[in-house]
Symmetry: C2
Amino acid sequence: MNEGTTAREAYLAPNQANYAPLSPLSFLARTEAVFPDRLAAIDGMRRFTWRETAARCRRLASALGGLGVRPGETVALLAPNTAAALEAHFGVPMAGAVLNAINVRLDAPTITYILEHGEAKALLADREFGPLAAQALAALPAGRRPMLVDLDDPAHPAEPLPGALAYEALLARGDPAFPICLPKDEWGSISLNYTSGTTAKPKGVLYHHRGAYLNAIGNALVWGLSAGSVYLWTLPMFHCNGWCFPWTVTAFAGTHVCLRRVDAAAIYEAIAAHGVTHLCGAPVVMNMLLNAPAESMRDLGGRRVAMMTAGAAPPAAVIEGMERLGFDITHVYGLTETYGPAMVCDWHPEWNALPAPEQARLKARQGVPYHVQEGMIVADSATLAPVPCDGATMGEVFMRGNIVMRGYLKDPEATEKAFAGGWFHTGDLGVCHPDGYVELKDRAKDIIISGGENISTIEVEGVLYRHPAVLEAAVVARPDPQWGETPCAFVTLKEGQSATEGDIISFCRDNMAHFKAPKSVIFGPLPKTSTGKIQKFVLRARLKKASAGVVG
Amino acid sequence: MNEGTTAREAYLAPNQANYAPLSPLSFLARTEAVFPDRLAAIDGMRRFTWRETAARCRRLASALGGLGVRPGETVALLAPNTAAALEAHFGVPMAGAVLNAINVRLDAPTITYILEHGEAKALLADREFGPLAAQALAALPAGRRPMLVDLDDPAHPAEPLPGALAYEALLARGDPAFPICLPKDEWGSISLNYTSGTTAKPKGVLYHHRGAYLNAIGNALVWGLSAGSVYLWTLPMFHCNGWCFPWTVTAFAGTHVCLRRVDAAAIYEAIAAHGVTHLCGAPVVMNMLLNAPAESMRDLGGRRVAMMTAGAAPPAAVIEGMERLGFDITHVYGLTETYGPAMVCDWHPEWNALPAPEQARLKARQGVPYHVQEGMIVADSATLAPVPCDGATMGEVFMRGNIVMRGYLKDPEATEKAFAGGWFHTGDLGVCHPDGYVELKDRAKDIIISGGENISTIEVEGVLYRHPAVLEAAVVARPDPQWGETPCAFVTLKEGQSATEGDIISFCRDNMAHFKAPKSVIFGPLPKTSTGKIQKFVLRARLKKASAGVVG
């Protein structure tokens, strides 16, 4: 037959009947049509059906057009997990625009930088973050300030934002029948997410419609959502677009349970009140649930709740504790550059027969690529030669496939570097086990080299978390004249618990190779990034000061 | 930002790191890597793990290349649902070739036509169909005969096919490490499926890798497969590539239970022996299971088995009966041109509270598009103007989206006609209910017009199936001097049951508008196509003969 090359095959080219750009917008159209009366969103006292949510998204899209937002332009969002944030995930791309959900925990100068770099034409800001938005906007040159839209959530009846358009009034003027058009090109950008940028300026990661569609489905393939799933928004939507879950949950006509503030009492309360079946969150959320004060805790009554976690390797002891509470933990791994989760510790049913600690140890691994991510290797950072899958040889994790970002906005150099050799460089170091599962050992810059031996800070932290008095732990390198570096542990103890430096060190020596055990332990609260990650660079700076004679 | 149009955006074009062609081949690569020791296929006494199945597919791909099969060329398959048929669904496209699975129930001249039209370079033939293959090949000019490969299944130890290469020997020579390469272009053809062609020559429907990937996932989104699913091959793989399930089940590392011959005893036996969780089949398979002789039936022991059905609207009574036996019926709808199922009667949990017959009536509808199919309308065949969704106004069903075929091989005219107006013309007539669910009323050519009133033969058949003595029924138009046409029922009674023409007619009159009731009933076995569909054109021909004075 030898088709594809000859002129007589021209009639087999894509046409309107057999080709549609892949976009998660089609999920909203389908769910609105098929399940209009099912509950789409719960936000405080407000309830929206899918008919209502779709109409609000249509209104938003038409209103943005009316405000002069053109296809390809950026619309920024500064909001916690509210119904408006969910609506923006559809309404903004339905207007052909690119959604830039900004982390509400950032400082104003960083937000100014993001608004300027992303060239936002409009900023939808929740009232709770009105002062932050105002401060960020004020620092922009007058001609480059985006229009401000005041997300006037009745559950947060603060003062209106000065000089802003009111969101609900804007929607009221919008067209509830505005068409849900797919983008012309599935490679077109749907969103822009800035990396947290611990060392340099944040980089603007571009997601395209195709990747967002595929990872929305990819989540479902590894996690078994179904019609009737009730999803609790513990994970911020401004974090990799909530790992694509605004789109996944919508595809299944599930219910989005919004959550303005994430704390243990609110989570347990929402699970009980709304029959939550699924939630996501960093290990810090698991810690929160595990160590909640007794009065906030609720018995799940034998029900199992599915929780997906990522963002830092969850200590095995934390996984084990969560499973005992009634949470089925699925461990995923990814980066802003991979639409959030792109690998999963895919579970083998045989493993259910293993003792709980062994199960937790297996589950603490980052695992294997999603169905929708085509390639992954653990390899030499320079040569890209794969390391042996022996569970011991360290290499950098590389990925390739349809859920790798388009690139960094206005940054060809960083994009080229990230994709050098035809693979996305994650910057994360790990080993590949004989069963093909990857286990992260560290960020490239977090590894400790002590007396020529590599020490994985994640491994040391895993042991620290097993100590009954430890709430949180982070290990960093302390400069050492003899060994080059030695591990230093920063530890927060659980309320009402106590332990000495000696207790902690000897516990570590009892549970791992002696050379890996921390040589010093510092107690106190840990500095965190706006996304809840522990800021190791702050801890390192403290140690440097200390070794320079300044108190840490 | 206004990206996508300016030169500075060139660095954001797809590259090796962030773009991979969509292809179901990637599912085999993933499952082999992640679940190598899980059971992939059960075929008679043989068992294959995913490691083994993947190696056999790799060997097949390399061996086909060794035989001179070039990318883009056709490899035909004539086999029942065996492990080799499953392997061909991966091995052939892994060689870059296009799989043409041929219906084993076709006559030799039709197979000759298909081999010649599809320009098959090789034919993999199961020994059971050796004589049929030989006869079809003999009719081809010597220079245009494909190489013959003898699928020497030890479970069917017939004589070797003369002049053929032995499949197992071929695999033994193949390279078990042959790479699983994705196609260069996701729009490239993965398979070629001929329509059954009741009126004209069969047409060759081309599937591309993108569509096969998406519908493999589409099946999972509507049907909740998961790791550990055990899929029974009651649906022929030569029917729309088994509705894409060779690829779906593989994505989930499920187990394919092969079945050389489909009968009630074999199905019940396989369900009991292998813990089958999912199967597909036309309503004829449901009838088979419902009306099995007592000694073949097995109690499912409280277990529920998921069954997907399509191919003809299942009578509500049949659905109800199956649910009582322990089968959860999912009703889907599609055509060869839509990769098999492309619509589903998506279930609303509220409907579970309805009485069983009402549930069955709702479930007998063809429903709404798959998540991966972007558009569907019920519209005027000529103008494509949508009909009102009132459950009464008849129109033709049109679809568009990523699971519509590339087109018909070497037939630009038919392709253009099928896609006229930017929609795929299904040729099926139905109504759209107020809830947006489609219910087929007939093939365009099957509708009966009696005294100016349209009568849906499907509706009449639905009533006939509710009669306790009726095993199978088909209704066609009988030429009538007074009314133009009147409905005539052809009925097969259940074993040991009896009913007269008068019984059947009065039962129909009691259960539907009188003008729709058959005016005559003819008892006896029903002629079927090779895919198990009742051949109404044969029945019509009988009636014409009868009205011309010849005995029917």
